[in-house]
């Protein structure tokens, strides 16, 4: 890039510690995953196998291997963790992860009630054998979480062993740090990031207006997730100012 165009913001190099992009795979075939890697390898760090899709996709172990062989972190959506948790089958979940070659998982409580201390103990326990990402926020749009709780829970989960914490937004981008129309709760986000480093947070931001806001607020190397496969390159264009919406963001005045 720098050889081609001047004044392009500096992207972190792979393997990235910040500026992560997480793609949401809802059931790609092997060939579609290969297509994705061909064009998006350089711009993607993490693949989430959305909600329970991984147990319905044939040859999932082969696809996970393909992603891992290409340096991607791979984990199944938190809903799958919760589906095992609510059935008291977490030991079976560990077996499932091991069998399919997954060394990372998401621990969330977006669809069920889980005592926060219990959630943290799960994080602690799974973190012994797996990379853990945990999620704060409810999938139920009627649930309001105070900024104090957002901050306290994120901090506790990071201390319990989460590699990053996710701010729940769903595939629709309409809960958690967003309102029902996908609008951004900017005051809440600013308050959270006064106490939790934004580099420790992975923001689910499926919609373009949300991606733009985070890039303008936190810079080119903000961590963004729930990106559909064919939105990864458009997102990278937004990060680099190669799309109308952020065309002027990183140009020197």
């Amino acid at each position: 890039m720098k050889e081609i165009l001047k004044q392009i913001p500096e992207r972190s190099p792979k393997p990235r510690k910040i500026g992560l992009t997480m793609m949401m795979d809802k059931g790609l075939s092997i060939r579609e995953a290969e297509n994705f890697l061909e064009t998006c390898y350089e711009h993607t760090d993490i693949v989430k196998l959305g909600f329970g899709t991984s147990i319905l996709t044939p040859n999932i172990a082969e696809k996970i291997k393909l992603y891992k062989d290409n340096g991607m972190l791979v984990y199944p959506g938190g809903t799958l963790f919760e589906a095992f948790a609510i059935r008291n089958q977490l030991a079976d979940y560990k077996k499932y992860l091991n069998k399919t070659g997954l060394n990372m998982l998401e621990i969330s409580d977006g669809s069920m009630f889980m005592d926060h201390k219990l959630k943290c103990s799960y994080i602690q326990e799974f973190a012994k054998d797996f990379k853990v990402i945990s999620e704060v926020g409810s999938k139920d749009s009627s649930v309001e979480i105070s900024s104090e709780n957002w901050i306290k829970w994120m901090r506790n989960e990071l201390e319990a062993g989460s590699w990053k914490v996710i701010a729940e937004a769903r595939e629709g981008g309409n809960v958690g740090v967003f309102d029902g129309d996908g609008g951004i709760k900017s005051e809440l986000i600013k308050e959270i990031t006064q106490h939790i480093s934004d580099s420790d947070i992975l923001w689910e931001a499926p919609n373009k207006n949300q991606q733009i806001w985070f890039i303008e607020q936190f810079g080119v190397n903000v961590n963004l997730g729930n990106i559909s496969p064919n939105s990864v390159i458009p997102l990278e264009c937004l990060r680099l100012g190669l799309r109308g919406d952020t065309f002027h963001t990183f140009l020197k005045k």
Copy 2:
């Protein structure tokens, strides 16, 4: 599934008689159809070649053969039937179906006026040589059909030889049993299903909120159609309670 997770609702096994999923193909290439079958074979029963797309897609006979060889029922959208009907070319339509290897068709009157008795006679005639699925409802959102007519027409068409009747919704999910915003006319649907078995109806339900409603109303094995290729696995997750929206639907209290 049952080996992995407990309390998952019982899906009908393939070849299915109920719990059908119909995918809408709007012009996939051969390789894209192969990708689809790799991941969605188990979760799909019927492929509709949407509206008139089949006569614009090269190698359509090859694609139809591919789907049929994989046990899919395949039929072109009703708009194609109507395009031949309004031109008085139904004999040519039979030739087209035979030439491309199609042994199933949709008979509809969503875009043109057709006397109901004439429509039933078409169903009767085509049913001699083809599997017929017929559709009730107008593509014109200003046309209101009384529940009495929905019920009478569906019954007549089933008696005339339709394998199933479709409740028109379009790709947008915004006419027929839905209102212009995609909302569900639940009273109408409940009234219809007091007289017509819901297993005889294929509900076009392209939007997630519609799919959720039908699953919660009629159970895991409701027949759903107009599903885009990459929404088939997400829909199967909804059916099985592996997505936030139906997470609690089938759990024993």
Copy 3:
């Protein structure tokens, strides 16, 4: 088509001079581009490599060659031209175009201010070595351009050497000749086409309601662009009256 169905409107044959369809590629892999060509070759004339995506897509030269070998006109989105222009790197842009095998470009000023005379001089200069398509309209929805200016600027740019002029609409179809909700500024469009031949204009019309309006207004062979890869066949169905929305448009009364 004519062998199959009567009363289908006459489409211009390839290579087309009118009735052009421009597909927007936002980062397809080689295999996805092949899939696209398999089904859409006959229905597509131009490929736009959307905004700055071309410099982020690996093997871009190979993909450009694939499209060109299949008779497609190929050009990168105007935002890329502007990204080079605002950095005073237009000489580098020429090198980039030559290096990747591009013999066509878009000259626009949708994201930056550019004096209209300067823009025309760029068109004149680039037109010596490249096929130039230029775009009128701002990506900023708050910018209102009078119909006089739409007409004057389009005329000047055509005289300066543009092959066609584009009416800016963005991928969202919500600026320029459309309002913020995607509605059509029909009076403006009619006024423009009283002075500029509609065959000299490529209308960006990503949304179905917009495509229908243009087809009903200007006929089957209107030039339409910003069409997503999997909407090209559905658009062709709209053109030919093989979809409910235009079912009656071209039928003789």
